[in-house]
Symmetry: C3
Subunit: 275 residues, 3 copies
């Protein structure tokens, strides 16, 4: 359930929120432009995150059939450590050494990412606060959603990946869409992709570490084929669509169509075989 919520959060941000932002922004403003270098930096970070989820998943499926639990745990802890290190360096990179790399193209001089105006301590502090709040909200949401979803006959994975993600991301997505409509598409891209990166490179490894410290059972980054496949598809199409710094309504449609195909798959996927 936690794994499904992680994947769902990334898919919802990357495909649904960004797609809707492009669609509605493009309908009002025809063509919109953002900084292709920033989009490329986000894409590469997303790809790094994808690799860090795909490697332990493949490891657990193909290479660890018989009693190699210890190796699997070492792999998970090692990768979680690497991700946190990479995330720390990413903050340092985007806040200190290359703040300009994420500056918007329009040149109106305003920061396109809230984090930009902040110093490093405030950014780190707000990150920690946001994570605690997110964890607490998740707890509540998971409980509520599970009841509602079960009543509607949805499977656990579908609830986690599609339903829960849409509900819990409504706030963030709303702001991304509003920014796109105000022709600040760079800000919309920053919010959507920044959330994905935060989920994959910060929340996921923190959950892994805390599961080893306090949780009754450990959380491993071992996702099923369908989850990894969907993430892979989402990251690749995100890189293709955002790679040249242009947005229009049809690109939004393409992202939403991919999201719809993936959601349909998870809705129809039989419960028992989601491994």
């Amino acid at each position: 359930m936690v794994r499904a919520a992680l994947v769902g959060g990334i898919l919802a941000n990357l495909l649904l929120a960004l797609g809707t932002a492009f669609l509605l922004g493009g309908l009002r403003h025809h063509d919109q432009h953002f900084n292709p270098a920033a989009a490329r930096a986000y894409s590469t970070m997303m790809f790094l995150a994808l690799v860090s989820l795909a490697v332990p998943s493949a490891f657990s499926r193909y290479f660890a059939p018989e009693g190699t639990i210890r190796q699997e745990q070492l792999l998970n802890i090692g990768i979680a450590g690497l991700l946190l290190l990479a995330y720390g360096l990413y903050l340092f990179f985007s806040l200190r050494t290359h703040p300009g790399a994420f500056a918007s193209v329009e040149g109106e001089g305003e920061a396109h990412h809230e984090g930009k105006r902040w110093g490093l301590p405030r950014a780190v502090g707000s990150l920690l606060g946001a994570s605690v709040a997110a964890a607490w909200m998740s707890e509540i949401l998971v409980g509520a959603a599970e009841g509602t979803g079960k009543a509607l006959g949805m499977s656990d994975v579908f609830i986690g990946i599609v339903f829960l993600a849409v509900v819990s991301r409504a706030a963030a997505s709303g702001s991304a869409i509003a920014m796109a409509r105000k022709n600040k598409v760079a800000l919309a891209v920053g919010i959507s992709l920044g959330s994905c990166i935060q989920i994959a490179l910060f929340i996921a490894p923190v959950l892994v570490f805390s599961s080893y410290l306090i949780a009754p059972q450990t959380l491993d980054l071992a996702f099923g084929r369908a989850e990894i496949g969907s993430l892979f598809i989402a990251v690749l199409i995100g890189a293709l669509v955002c790679g040249d710094g242009q947005a229009n309504w049809f690109r939004g449609v393409q992202l939403i169509a991919v999201y719809a195909i993936i959601a349909l798959m998870f809705y129809l996927m039989p419960e028992l075989t989601h491994k």
Copy 2:
């Protein structure tokens, strides 16, 4: 056989026709340029098409082992509907709201895609006509090719994917190559990739719908590993090669080399294990 012809048509257009066009055009004109935004739009559409074929294929292989025929059919119909909707919006996008997005770079002001000069009704009409003609020609070709191929000891899948595709696409490929030699490489890219998109996003879903309405047995979008893998390879290398709007003879060689590797694989693949 129908599935193999669909995949073969896409591979032949994307790799063989475009590769030959780049090769011959590059030999005569050294460097050629086309609109990178248009190439990126085509790549994204191709990727959307790939996802829409890969998802039901993976679903049918991994997640639907025991008696979930109904879910599989729902998935196929749902995706076919989504594809037709996306194709309709793509026509609307390229003909109405952003005709400039596909304009050629050379700036001689002529449309690089026949469809461009037409209005929406004529485009839709010609699409329907072309599809009927294609279906009828396919019928004849499949019969003729099957006999010839069998006599030469080829497997069914090889006939469908390589032999049939080359024969039936000769006309379209010929025009693409002729355009590239006349230094209208943007037009060659438009014809090649446009055909791929038409096959994947229009002909494939129409065949699925019509198979549910009139055919003796339903056609599902459940391709084998080799077909999806080849398509994936073709779409990725197409995106890499076309992504910056430049063409030269060596890029043509790269596309043709990938096609040769794939064709060799299908030729040698044992008949019985093509699932």
Copy 3:
């Protein structure tokens, strides 16, 4: 062991050497620029190489279960021939018809690839010499590394892919890193990616051919899932990172992080299941 060394050489050049070069160069020079067209040409060649390794591997795993050795050998020989042909055309392309395509952006007019100043005969001659020397050095290194690695409790595949690659590539990597520190990042990219291409498109097919002529047992291009998966990840992230011709220290960190994840996986992968 030979297969592992091939994969390891590519991974070490593409991720570790290039990542370190970007990291150290970026720390000293902030932002560095190189020719994006050259990077794209390298990426496409790497992708072609990846396809040529992935196709026989998938063939051997999925489609050749029962007694189809002859088909598999034909596929390997056919692909090796295609690769050598593609490599020859690549030399012709980069040395004769489009030397400018690989020229560096800085415009100081010096060739960024040693091969550039040479004529075709000298390039071919030095290639042959380098291959013989590489084969001989490999022989010695494999022996030495096997002993050392075994003593340290490493698995065969880990020795081949990570340990051996790092040791044997130290010289080439060193020169790439030195170039990047001297702000000749285009030269660093050329050395790193050029080595990868040489390994995949020249050394690998030569080894296949010579194994059929002189070796006691034939060498097939049938890699395991982990090897192909790692190569695929490396080629994709290489294309993403290098695609726009810019380098900074954080891109180096991303490449090194991916390398660390892959190395960790191979270190922990149980010996017996590396197929």
